[in-house]
């Protein structure tokens, strides 16, 4: 059987606070998306592409693993 689907979680909201209280709008502007997309990612309603994940991590000044976690066997879409 194929492996169970996985879900990507993140700490973006907490890390924004740590990054000089960066707002959703500032992060959105930094990576070229809408604030709604940042909200959706923070709430786990949208999994960003790998490229966008790296961009978010870079904007927050953190390594990718600090920002996103990969939960094996987590809830699927």
């Amino acid at each position: 059987m194929p492996p169970k689907p996985t879900k990507v979680t993140n700490n973006i909201r907490a890390l924004r606070f740590a990054a000089a209280e960066m707002t959703q709008a500032e992060l959105a502007h930094a990576i070229g998306v809408t604030r709604q997309t940042i909200i959706a990612i923070e709430q786990g309603r949208y999994s960003p592409s790998l490229e966008m994940a790296f961009e978010i991590a870079a904007a927050l000044g953190r390594p990718l693993n600090d920002v996103f976690q990969y939960e094996q066997g987590g809830p699927a879409d």
Partner: protein, 165 residues
């Protein structure tokens, strides 16, 4: 002492829909409205007369044109209102309203969701044509296929916006 706020004030403001999400809502409302109005005109005529004698071309053109017009006007009006609302709050409309990669993904998934339905509908139209059905039925089948496909696509997109993917 300057204690940092627990929450970021700007992030707590109500979320405004992106331009794409807003246009999906408007298109859905316009399509449903036009389809219901069209059905309210055509169904009684079809029940009271032989279908070959039912005048359906003008109502259908009005329904299609009305859908397009309502969508365009609704999008313009709602966009202006959203821009003004953001301006009054001192926010950057570009960050709130522009479309991005998430909108494109949702758009693609919505189109995919409706493609099977539209394909089956068009097959039905083809069969009706081959069977020599009255133009009335061919026209209705085409309209229903288009409306059902559009509504399915719009609902799929709105669910993706709300629930995520």
């Amino acid at each position: 002492m300057n204690a940092k706020p627990l929450r970021l004030p700007l992030d707590d403001e109500p979320q405004i829909m992106t331009a794409e999400q807003r246009s999906v809502w408007i298109y859905l409302a316009a399509t449903v409205l036009a389809t219901v109005a069209y059905a309210a005109i055509i169904v009684p005529r079809a029940l009271d007369n032989p279908v070959a004698e039912v005048s359906w071309v003008r109502p259908m053109l009005l329904a299609i044109g009305g859908t397009i017009l309502l969508t365009i006007v609704g999008t313009i009006v709602w966009s202006i209102a959203a821009g003004v609302r953001l301006g009054l709050r001192g926010r950057d409309p570009e960050i709130e309203l522009e479309s991005d990669v998430r909108d494109k993904e949702i758009n693609k998934r919505g189109t995919t969701a409706s493609s099977t339905l539209v394909g089956v509908g068009l097959l039905g139209v083809l069969i009706l044509t081959m069977a020599g059905a009255d133009h009335f039925w061919i026209g209705q089948a085409l309209y229903v296929t288009g409306a059902a496909g559009g509504i399915t696509e719009a609902i799929t997109k709105l669910r993706l916006y709300q629930r995520g993917f």
